[in-house]
Symmetry: C2
Subunit: 460 residues, 2 copies
């Protein structure tokens, strides 16, 4: 009987659907629903989807159930620890967890245990969140994929490197998941899987215990709603701050109110020349709608300062790669010494490219990055935020690559907040509108994103 | 026969003696001596001293011998990897090593393996250094000592938290060792054990893979000579830089030339009221000698800006502790969850003090720290550097405490370079003269220190 029911339900799970958490908590105090019920639905979805998409490396269901039970009692008693108390969350497998191994999708860390929680994970637990499991990452959060499939079409990549986080959120197994981004590892999979992706201002969410070692690295959020994304980031930062020595994510305790931007910059980025006609059309249509709504649009074709940013002689992706390459060279030396054969060809070739960089080269790259950041910061006088595509098109077919990251490079290089909003559709699959903001003004980016979501989702 | 010879040698090892490495390498090219011989002497000293002082948690002698052998061949062939090629080095046991566990002097990390080298360790290996073993730290590099003894007097503490690093360098087992400092963990043990201690500008040496999570944390060097200290720092930074996103230690490839300072500030610090009469006298005598040498001396009594720094209404140690307390709270939550009983009372009480801090409190502490840093930075117009004691007196008797850190607090809070120079003696035991410099001007601090060493060591 139960099994037949499950089969029916399982069959129903053909189209992925997001499961926002904050909206669901409204009935928790009255007991109309409970975090435990919310989790059981997660577990059903896990059972249904996971065999097909492979989003998780491992789970800790007994602990998750226990945490959801405690959360249920707290909500009933009116003593919830935070608005995300009871939220089912996934954690990218480069971020440390006490109760599960952190394996970084490398045989070199097979079964490896950190014996501590990362700062972000610890904060989630202290806020009452339910850590369901570890989500699949590409090898060391770089380019080599590890088999996760896109829930919108199993023959397509979910993007990466936060592959499992995006896929798990997309089909509702968790309401949110931690990811990391140093180039495009949150924005791209969010775009491909049709969920919210939030890469904060660099350093704004404490990265201690996350195994990405670059100065552009960010812990980011994949989430079912903008509200969930903001709240989870906020609850982490309220408890453990940003990176040590920095003030951490700036903004209100609850999601900022929707605010209509007055002037938006449209970025083409280096990704424009590889973007599909449909994707470009989607962005163009969006821009037309925004113009109709009275928003002043600036582009490289009519704004010298955007042109300066977009047509800069430097190759932004290469500059980004040079910074990252120097910053992780020690790690690859260490891994190569352990067992060069255990590294993918992909990562070995990438690492090799920056083998000869000197300290002087690195310092020059940092200076150049600082210069580009200053060019962007000046644009605050003329644009409230920027929009662009989150990826060149929908998720490409095949599991051998996580897709082109070019559209995500600028925000990573600039160290500024970026959001991917699931507003476009190409070939029956999702594509994100990317909103790029200014350093430490993550709240403004959310306010603009909320307005864009409300207006453009209706129009779609 | 060999054993009798060893016995004689062992008996000779009653007074600790530093073994600078760079000075010894002069004969390596000619083959007059070799890194392998240098290491064998290290191993004899290890055998003689280690049972009495307990400086090491573990060693990897086969690997060390292999590394010294390779280094010997490189020097012979004129292909040494760096000036520190072959240098025997110890690594504080909060810094990760691939070939040895990283146990942080906590039962919670008993036998724990990082499966990678820290960035600094990887750089040392790439520069040809010989990693002899892991040196004893206090529990999680905080206050609870783990039994290491001072080679100058076994009944006295070696200081901490870099206890084993300082003790091992002091008796010549290694020419240098990595330590870490967030308050006084390099400067104090260097002072107590009579070796060079170097805490660089904050972020100047890459800390990735070092288990100290604070914004004031620095990887520092304990060394047998100023020259060794500079070179080891420089070779690390040339290969792996400072913390990701920062330019890293600034200065020349080889130790800066000695430079006579024109104007020196004398700091009393909050430690002055607990300093011994002999220690104060030693500093006073030193100041008199410097005046005689024509150096202009500024103190809180005659320089308003030093007075502003020294009589600031804030409690610098408490400000420092508040920053550190917030920044490590997540870690102690994680440890407490694993097994509260496995933490010392000492560390539990400390951690508990900052349990109620909010993000707003932390941001206020950061602002206050920035303000104090600005007050200090302005002094560059009137003082070339500062001198003070490195500790209130010689190492106190007993192994239950690593001693008072007050004299080391200012440089840690300010994020500026500090050196402890083994120039004083109190009660037959060493005491350091501390040189405090300016942010990113570590090379200037070394140049002044070299001059002070040459002049004051002669005078002693």
């Amino acid at each position: 009987m139960r099994s037949a029911e499950k089969l029916t339900r399982t069959k129903e799970r053909t189209k992925p659907a997001l499961r926002p958490y904050l909206a669901a908590t409204r009935s928790f105090a009255s007991g109309g629903a409970t975090p435990r019920q919310f989790l059981e639905e997660s577990l059903e979805l896990l059972e249904s989807w996971e065999p097909r998409i492979g989003a998780f490396v491992c789970t800790n269901l007994p602990e998750a159930r226990k945490a959801a039970e405690s959360s249920t009692e707290r909500w009933r008693a009116g003593r919830s620890l935070s608005p995300i108390d009871g939220m089912p969350v996934g954690v990218k497998d480069v971020i440390e967890t006490c109760d599960m191994p952190t394996q970084m999708s490398s045989p070199l860390f097979s079964g490896w245990r950190s014996e501590k929680d990362a700062a972000s994970v610890r904060a989630l637990r202290d806020a009452g969140a339910v850590i369901l499991g570890k989500t699949v990452t590409t090898e060391f959060a770089a380019a080599e994929p590890r088999g996760t499939r896109n829930p919108w079409n199993m023959a397509h990549t979910p993007g990466g490197s936060s592959s499992g986080s995006a896929a798990a959120v997309a089909c509702g197994i968790v309401s949110a998941a931690l990811g990391t981004q140093v180039i495009g590892s949150v924005i791209r999979p969010a775009s491909f899987c049709g969920c919210i992706g939030f890469k904060p201002t660099v350093n704004a969410i404490n990265r201690e215990g996350s195994h990405d070692y670059q100065s552009q690295s960010c812990t980011g959020i994949l989430a079912a709603s903008l509200q969930d994304a903001w709240q989870i980031a906020r609850e982490i930062v309220a408890r453990v701050g940003g990176d040590a020595g920095t003030p951490g994510l700036q903004g209100p305790d609850a999601m900022p109110s929707s605010a209509k931007p007055r002037r938006l910059g449209v970025l083409e980025t280096a990704g424009w020349h590889v973007a599909s006609a449909e994707a470009k059309q989607a962005l163009d249509d969006c821009v037309q709608r925004l113009k109709s709504a009275g928003i002043e649009i600036h582009t490289r074709h009519d704004d010298d300062k955007i042109a300066a940013l977009e047509t800069d002689p430097i190759d932004t992706a290469e500059l980004s790669n040079r910074c990252n390459g120097w910053e992780t060279r020690w790690f690859f030396h260490s891994m190569r010494d352990r067992d060069a054969g255990a590294l993918s060809r992909n990562i070995t070739e990438r690492a090799g490219k920056y083998e000869d960089m000197t300290l002087a080269d690195y310092r020059a790259a940092l200076k150049e990055r600082a210069r580009v950041r200053a060019v962007h910061a000046e644009l605050a006088a003329s644009c409230d935020a920027f929009i662009t595509l989150a990826a060149p098109s929908h998720a490409p077919e095949g599991l051998g690559s996580t897709g082109n990251p070019e559209f995500a490079v600028p925000a990573s290089l600039l160290g500024v907040p970026a959001l991917s909003l699931p507003l476009f559709e190409v070939g029956g699959m999702p594509l994100g509108l990317q909103v790029v903001g200014y350093r430490d003004r993550d709240a403004d980016a959310f306010a603009a994103a909320a307005w864009l979501m409300s207006v453009l989702a209706q129009a779609r």
